[in-house]
């Protein structure tokens, strides 16, 4: 007999017609006898049907002709005249590769950590000494917001900036300084035991952001390379992603018959 958890694992395949054979029969049998799973699956099917109502306008034949003409111009303008749009695409490439390479390291980190623990929701008896729940949730929101903004900045830096190179690093440095100030505040306030991993990540980010803020104004390329290397070596962007995913993880269902979502594999 299939458990609720096993049944739920098949929702996606069943919804999209990828569940066949004996597994489909087992699934249907379970649904027939389980009101909870039947309801949950039904609600998922409803939202899926709702998403079918999405509309998008598409280019007309004339617009597609214009599309090709522009494309042809770009292709025949010569491989040497790189457009800015394309150079950004090219610059992103090493990042994708390094993220992939960093996965192994970060997965190891993730295994040592309770995945799915919500950053914003305190556990019993684990509250900071003087923070109320509301304050703690606000603090964690600030911390997550800080991580997101650091990610945007680091992506910009690692990818060589999305702005014109002529403007130097002035914008990146100004943003860095603002974030460093925020990091110092957050580190002081994150005192609870379940916040220490977040605090550690913020401290790691702070080092990188300080380096960036203190770069000489005259396009200090070697130093910038060191910073990029630091971001990649420490897998900072991946750690931020993981932290964000943890915060997004759904709370553990009250129904104890279900296998808790916290035991799902991390991405």
């Amino acid at each position: 007999m299939m458990t609720h958890w096993e049944c739920e694992q098949l929702f996606v395949e069943a919804l999209y017609g990828e569940l066949t054979g004996p597994r489909r029969h087992q699934f249907d049998d379970h649904l027939a006898g389980c009101e909870d799973c039947r309801g949950a699956f039904q609600r998922l099917a409803e939202v899926s049907a709702l998403m079918d109502h999405r509309e998008r306008s598409e280019p007309t034949a004339a617009e597609w002709t214009a599309f090709w003409n522009e494309l042809e111009d770009r292709l025949t303008a010569g491989a040497k005249t790189e457009t800015p749009r394309n150079s950004i695409l090219d610059r992103l490439r090493p990042v994708h590769i390094s993220w992939a390479a960093g996965i192994a390291a970060v997965v190891l980190v993730a295994f040592g950590i309770v995945i799915g623990q919500r950053v914003g929701v305190p556990t019993d008896g684990d509250l900071g000494t003087h923070f109320s729940t509301a304050e703690k949730i606000l603090l964690n929101e600030r911390a997550l917001n800080y991580l997101e903004r650091s990610k945007v900045l680091l992506l910009g830096v690692v990818n060589g900036g999305f702005v014109e190179p002529t403007s130097g690093l002035a914008r990146e440095q100004e943003i860095s300084r603002s974030l460093v100030t925020e990091a110092a505040n957050l580190r002081q306030e994150l005192t609870a035991a379940d916040e220490q991993r977040l605090k550690q990540l913020i401290a790691e980010l702070e080092v990188i952001l300080l380096q960036l803020a203190n770069l000489e104004q005259t396009a200090d390329i070697p130093a910038l390379e060191i910073i990029r290397g630091g971001v990649e070596r420490q897998g900072l962007l991946l750690k931020i992603n993981l932290e964000q995913m943890r915060a997004q993880a759904p709370p553990v269902p009250a129904d104890t018959a279900r296998k808790p979502t916290t035991e799902r594999k991390p991405i």
Binding site: V12, E18, S48, M51, H53, E58, F67, R85, L92
Partner: protein
């Protein structure tokens, strides 16, 4: 003509062969970019990027995957890039993000009565807003399965992640959409056609 044959001709400098590739795939690329960004102009720009990129890196296409899958992969990466760039541009010097209101405008269809048109516009807005709440990766997975009708296995191949990961990301995406759109229920007449 097979993908391999087309690719061989393009490598030999046959631009007409590349046009065939574009014609065969442009709609899928455009739709994917549209579904990933929710913005038609962005989708057109990204589609241009994708084909420029594909043309210039065609020698790296080994024919192990379908040409369309390879183009999907380039498209997803281009959309992620686009997303990062947009976020970066929306960042103010004090490190805060500018609030952006990018809810797309929808217009009713000709022949709709005003009430139907308004409802339709509102629903489109809600659907787009719900999609905006997904992470870029969740949105990629959802879009590829739901709108591009690719199998979980194909998506895993395109995104170079395991099928199990695709499944859990898709489940998470659906749960989030469900949460965002919970005020729409069956009694509002929403049924799978």
């Amino acid at each position: 003509m097979t993908d391999q044959e087309l690719v061989r001709r393009v490598r030999e400098g046959d631009l007409a062969a590349f046009r065939t590739i574009v014609d065969q795939n442009k709609l899928a690329v455009f739709r994917l970019a549209y579904d990933m960004t929710g913005n038609r102009q962005d989708a057109e720009d990204i589609s241009q990027e994708v084909f420029v990129k594909a043309y210039r890196s065609l020698e790296r296409f080994r024919g192990e995957a379908k040409l369309s899958s390879w183009l999907y992969r380039i498209t997803v990466n281009a959309c992620h890039d686009h997303h990062s760039r947009k976020r970066w541009n929306a960042m103010r010097p004090d490190g805060q993000m500018e609030e952006r209101d990018e809810t797309p405008m929808f217009h009713g269809h000709a022949g709709d009565d005003p009430e139907t048109a308004a409802e339709r516009t509102m629903m489109q807005g809600h659907i787009e807003a719900a999609l905006e709440r997904l992470t870029p990766r969740e949105r990629a997975v959802f879009t590829l399965r739901h709108y591009q009708d690719l199998s979980l296995r194909e998506i895993a191949g395109i995104l170079k992640i395991s099928e199990g990961t695709v499944k859990s990301m898709l489940f998470r995406a659906l749960k989030r959409l469900q949460k965002e759109l919970q005020f729409y229920r069956k009694d509002l007449g929403v049924q799978r056609p």
